[in-house]
């Protein structure tokens, strides 16, 4: 009995000593920032709302009035392979608002990070849990009122190829369950580099997003705007487009 107590006491002291060392070297938290840059097509033209583009594969001419999408459930990979989950990470990126495209993950343990992973969309739990706040506030106009769930990707604009009134196109892409789920996880490394998060340094990781991928991915194209200019609910077509859009994220560079 006495020996057991001594052993436990020794373990406790050892534990405190080791924890103390750990805290001394790595215990502080810092921030990591991720900036999404929207670049159109293979030639990576700077993308902006209100500018006319030609799709390099379908040949359609289009001008976006809206491009918004959710990024959530962020995970960061450390150099030792461990994964740091970013709690409560829900972001609505709006291509018309540069501030919304700069995501800041605060209170991240200091260390060297080699990659990132996130959902393009909103996890199923938050789709079935009633009124949400912040980025998920339904007043952000990214929630289907008649078929509960978040619109993960909203792309709207005009195109002479569209057969809709006023030549508009509207893609509201989402769906969190079943075979037509539009939820996709994107994972990528920082190209062999490391983001060094420290209390006094907040690295910035630049990721590229290619909105043209809504129409083509990996050499496979979906119907152009003359055929499909209107997708407004979860189905097989939106699931395909969601997957294609998620494949349009790529690592660009990082600043420490």
């Amino acid at each position: 009995m006495k020996n057991s107590i001594l052993a436990i006491a020794a373990m406790a002291v050892t534990s405190i000593l080791f924890t103390g060392c750990e805290r001394h070297h790595h215990g502080e938290n810092g921030s990591l920032n991720v900036e999404f840059e929207h670049l159109w097509g293979m030639n990576q033209l700077p993308f902006s709302i209100g500018t006319q583009y030609v799709h390099p594969m379908t040949g359609d001419t289009m001008t976006f009035t809206t491009l918004k999408y959710y990024i959530s459930n962020v995970e960061l990979t450390k150099e030792d392979g461990t994964v740091q989950f970013v709690p409560n990470s829900y972001y609505l990126v709006d291509a018309s608002n540069p501030l919304s495209a700069l995501l800041s993950f605060d209170s991240i343990p200091s260390g060297h990070y080699t990659g990132i992973s996130f959902l393009v969309g909103v996890d199923s739990t938050r789709n079935v849990s009633g009124a949400q706040t912040g980025a998920l506030d339904p007043a952000n106009d990214m929630f289907w009122s008649w078929n509960s769930g978040y619109v993960f990707i909203k792309a709207e604009g005009t195109s002479p190829q569209s057969t809709m009134p006023n030549a508009i196109f509207k893609f509201h892409i989402g769906g969190f369950q079943g075979v037509n789920s539009g939820l996709n996880r994107v994972s990528m490394s920082f190209g062999g580099g490391m983001a060094a998060v420290q209390e006094v340094a907040s690295p910035v990781v630049h990721l590229a997003v290619n909105p043209a991928m809504l129409w083509c991915a990996n050499g496979v194209c979906f119907p152009g705007l003359a055929q499909v200019s209107h997708l407004m609910m979860p189905n097989a077509a939106t699931a395909q487009r969601a997957k294609a859009f998620s494949e349009g994220f790529s690592f660009e560079h990082l600043h420490n």
Partner: protein, 307 residues
């Protein structure tokens, strides 16, 4: 202390106190979504005020309470379809607001999965309130609500999530469980011979869908006569072809107050509903129909529509 607080009636009200949602023994378990929803005195009071606020519509004429009136069990009887902004007509028959804590989903097609997000649908629907949530928030901020939000949520911040939560809390308190059948379930009353006969008939003919104390299995079915126009019902939200023209089994509670019936209000009376079954070969004699209706009358809760 009493002297100091006596001048403000608020001091006697605990706005953070939970409002009890009764759980009658005969009712099923509450719906999973409701587990983390806890109406409080303050949120329910705020929800009630919002429920009757006509400014929360594009032309200032439509409140939730326009089409969900207590005297008809918070339905819009006798309208087949309700009237929204600028005299526009709604797409489906307005269901009663009752016993919502036990409903796994909402709307005739079950497209809405949580009571807190339910109010969004009529707000933004262009033939109902025709107002965005941002506009709802702006309207509430312009009105005299600051004290109500402070009581409900502890501060005066007015946001869309708070508005829909308050509406949900108010609606959740609308529990109808004081009908004669509830007295029977509590062993406070016996059934007459005709009611007993009607009960047997009902269980045989209707009870597989209109099941349990709430008279619904909350699944989606096609009923003889339920195909009206081009409304494909459940298919709209599920995209499963076999769900076409299926609609949620409605509870028959308070049917006396809520006619007409069906998603399009296509049946003016229960006799008409039974007539459609009759044409499908489910024949009932006049006596059997009378017994059935006598039994079903036990599900009308006069207290619910007057309190």
């Amino acid at each position: 202390m009493c002297i100091l607080t006596a001048c403000t009636p608020d001091a006697r009200v605990d706005y953070q106190a939970l409002v009890d949602i009764p759980q009658p023994d005969s009712f099923p378990e509450r719906a999973p979504w409701s587990v983390n929803v806890h109406p409080m005195v303050g949120t329910v009071a705020l929800g009630q005020k919002l429920f009757s606020d006509r400014s929360l519509s594009s032309d200032g004429t439509v409140s939730c309470g326009n089409c969900h009136r207590q005297e008809v069990a918070f339905s819009d009887a006798p309208e087949k379809r309700s009237t929204g902004v600028n005299g526009r007509t709604g797409g489906r028959n307005t269901p009663p607001v009752q016993n919502l804590a036990w409903m796994p989903s909402f709307m005739w097609d079950g497209g809405i999965n949580h009571l807190e997000v339910m109010p969004i649908a009529p707000f933004v629907n262009e033939v109902e309130h025709n107002i965005s949530l941002k506009e709802v928030v702006r309207s509430v901020r312009r009105s005299d609500y600051r004290r109500d939000f402070k009581r409900a949520f502890g501060d005066t911040s007015i946001t869309a999530p708070r508005i829909i939560v308050a509406l949900a809390h108010f609606m959740m308190t609308k529990v109808s469980s004081q009908s004669p059948i509830d007295s029977f379930y509590r062993r406070e009353r016996l059934l007459s011979n005709a009611e007993r006969t009607g009960r047997v008939l009902f269980n045989e003919q209707c009870g597989s869908c209109h099941s349990g104390a709430l008279l619904s299995d909350f699944t989606y079915k096609s009923h003889p006569g339920s195909r009206v126009g081009s409304d494909v019902g459940r298919f709209l939200v599920s995209q499963v072809p076999s769900d076409s023209f299926q609609f949620k089994t409605p509870s028959l509670r308070n049917w006396k107050y809520t006619a007409p019936y069906g998603h399009a209000g296509q049946w003016a009376t229960l006799e008409e509903v039974l007539q459609d079954w009759h044409t499908q070969g489910e024949y009932l004699t006049a006596d059997e129909k009378a017994s059935l209706l006598q039994f079903l009358s036990l599900f009308n809760d006069s207290e619910f529509i007057t309190l």
